[in-house]
């Protein structure tokens, strides 16, 4: 079982004019095995939520709690959070020149499991994960994210998701910049992950397109650092038809 519980989360970033509050009280529970989609216009704080859960140093939590199966996530360092079972697929994966994908994956797997993976199985697993995401077998020799196309970066993120197999996956706009074929491949990867028992997914997206392939249990509409509305998958269809206008008007009036 795994439950991610976010309660009244307030997060701010440092700006030249002092701290600016981005998240203004977010409450959200991803219960055992659930997939939640967070949708919202640009600048509504969706990515801030993702990075805050992962522990990016740029964001300061000023209030609220985040727990994973009851453990205080906010008290953990970034790597401890990952080892506790949280995974963030990033919108803009970072280049690490000179570090090969295979070295990176093995190092990460060793860190997460607390022991080095058995070599024979591991090589097989890596090859399968890369193949499933339609990544070339020579991909492992390339430097992490260096010279990758946008699609390769995202597929590489999902290959990591499958290999590291966390409890909860936070996907930050994994669909952005993908063509329809890549979107399907990535979605299949996410679906393989969540087909396992008890895996939670927090899927952050600007568009409804990915929700055709990954059906969420719940949809939350994010506006101005807060959840403005929530519902079942039908809410996504409604957003597709009507856009975010009605929520935006509410906040600006």
């Amino acid at each position: 079982m795994s439950t991610l519980e976010i309660k009244d989360l307030h997060v701010s970033v440092k700006t030249e004019d002092g701290p600016k509050e981005i998240l203004k009280g977010v409450t959200l529970t991803i219960a055992d095995g659930e997939t939640h989609a967070i949708m919202g216009p640009n600048g509504s704080g969706k990515s801030t939520l993702a990075y805050s859960i992962a522990g990016h140093p740029k964001y300061t939590v000023t209030g609220g709690t985040v727990t994973l199966d009851g453990d205080d996530v906010l008290a953990m360092s970034v790597d401890e959070r990952a080892r506790a079972g949280l995974f963030l697929a990033m919108q803009y994966p970072v280049e690490v020149p000179g570090v090969s994908v295979s070295n990176f994956l093995r190092t990460a797997k060793t860190a997460i499991d607390g022991e080095a993976p058995k070599l024979r199985h591991w090589v097989k697993d890596v090859n399968k994960a890369l193949q499933d995401l339609n990544l070339d077998p020579t991909f492992g020799q390339r430097s992490v994210n260096e010279g990758f196309s946008g699609g390769e970066k995202k597929r590489h993120e999902i290959a990591q998701l499958e290999l590291l197999n966390p409890k909860i996956a936070v996907l930050d706009e994994t669909d952005s910049g993908l063509d329809i074929d890549a979107l399907k491949i990535v979605s299949e990867g996410v679906n393989r992950f969540r087909a396992q028992e008890g895996k939670g997914v927090l899927l952050i997206t600007h568009y409804t397109r990915i929700l055709r392939y990954i059906t969420p249990d719940q949809v939350h509409v994010f506006v101005d650092g807060k959840i403005a509305d929530q519902g079942g998958p039908e809410l996504a269809d409604q957003l597709e038809a009507e856009g975010y206008d009605k929520y935006l008007t509410k906040t600006t009036v």
């Binding site: 360092s77 963030l88 690490v96 000179g98 570090v99 070295n103 990460a108 997460i112 430097s143």
Partner: protein, 396 residues
């Protein structure tokens, strides 16, 4: 915090200048009078702490030698010659005081000869060892790579000495030379080295300077061309610890048309007073039409209290070229890289280690001396264990 400073020179802005001689590089000469003792304010000396040269600049002839242990593949010879013979062979004359002193005081030179058409499948290995920093040692070496031959030469420096050496690498037409100089000295050594390379017509040469040890190391890597079509790749890797001064000065003199130079130097610094200097001088003379040059220096600052100077200089006397560019960047650890790795469960210390490994890995793979690759990675690892691998108390 990340400090990044990338500069790319615009070619056009420099076209109006009409220079006949490089103002950055004094003309070569054997005459010591042409290389007066520096005050420290000269362009070529302003980064070097002269006191720490411990008398080399006024040094007298000396009997002290480094111990040479050599491994010479069949056909390769190492013989003693006189300084006059070295000049006759066509070595490149000294271009600063220490190299002029080395010629004047060494009492003769060594000639390493790789005959024409010989293709070596193992490196020429020259292991030079010094016993004590009390010894003042002068070195004078000529490496002759015959036309159409192929050779790798490794010079390894260990132990300690006050050592000033001039080395010429004469690469024959169509030859392929790979020369590596490794400064793996003890903490108190002082090494002033001038490597000058003459690239024959259509020849290609790679020169790699790797500096880990020594109190003060100042190395020149100069390249000029004996004919059109030559290419030079100048690589460098250095790691400066607490109190160390490591200086690399590059001069690519495009004096022939359709020649190429490609320079990549990468360094890391850690500990109070670690100082590195990289000067990348490129001169494109009027005759040098159709040339291509690129130079790059990257420094990774691992702790507080270090200082990296990085100065690319480009002098251009013709605009009829294929390309000229440079980049220089000095930065601390990239927080985003560390976050990315840590978000995959990798500890902070291990993430830092990976990033530094990656930083050097690219370059080490380019060096092209497989026998050394492992040793170099191990040395990087050892250097890292002094700071980066320790739990970061001053996590920045």
């Amino acid at each position: 915090m990340t400090v990044t400073d990338t500069a790319r020179e615009s070619v056009e802005s420099m076209l109006e200048t009409k220079r006949t001689e490089s103002h950055l590089n004094p003309p070569p000469s054997y005459d010591l009078a042409d290389h007066p003792a520096p005050t420290g304010r000269e362009e070529i000396w302003r980064f070097t702490p002269l006191k720490r040269l411990r008398g080399i600049l006024d040094g007298e002839a000396s009997e002290a030698k480094l111990t040479w242990e050599t491994s010479l593949p069949e056909g390769v010879t190492l013989t003693e010659i006189s300084a006059a013979e070295a000049a006759e062979i066509g070595e490149l004359a000294p271009n600063d005081r220490p190299s002029a002193l080395a010629v004047a005081n060494a009492g003769g030179a060594l000639l390493l000869d790789v005959p024409a058409d010989l293709e070596l499948d193992e490196p020429v290995w020259l292991r030079l060892h010094g016993d004590s920093v009390d010894d003042l040692v002068w070195g004078h070496l000529v490496i002759r790579i015959g036309r159409f031959s192929k050779a790798t030469v490794v010079l390894e420096h260990t132990g300690s000495a006050r050592y000033s050496a001039t080395t010429s690498v004469l690469v024959g037409d169509g030859a392929n030379a790979n020369v590596l100089t490794l400064q793996d000295w003890d903490d108190d050594a002082v090494h002033l080295g001038r490597d000058a390379i003459l690239v024959g017509r259509d020849a290609s040469v790679r020169h790699t300077a790797i500096s880990f040890g020594g109190d003060l190391v100042r190395m020149h890597a100069n390249v000029e061309y004996a004919g059109p079509g030559g290419q030079a790749e100048l690589l460098g890797l250095y790691f400066a610890d607490e109190g160390q001064h490591i200086e690399h000065r590059i001069f690519a003199d495009h004096n022939e048309p359709r020649t190429k130079s490609n320079v990549i130097y990468k360094g890391a610094l850690q500990g109070q007073g670690a100082h590195t200097v990289w000067i990348g001088n490129v001169l494109i003379r009027k005759v040098a039409e159709g040339i291509e040059t690129y130079e790059e220096n990257r420094n990774l600052v691992l702790t507080e209290g270090c200082h990296a100077d990085s100065v690319p200089n480009l002098e251009i006397e013709t605009g009829e070229i294929e390309g000229a560019g440079h980049a220089s960047a000095t930065a601390r650890f990239d927080d985003e890289q560390l976050f990315y790795l840590q978000a995959r469960g990798i500890s902070e210390a291990e993430s830092r280690r990976l990033v530094v490994h990656g930083f050097f890995n690219d370059l080490i793979r380019k060096v092209g001396v497989p026998e050394l690759e492992e040793k170099l990675m191990a040395t990087v690892e050892e250097e890292l264990s002094k700071n980066v691998l320790r739990p970061a108390e001053d996590a920045s």
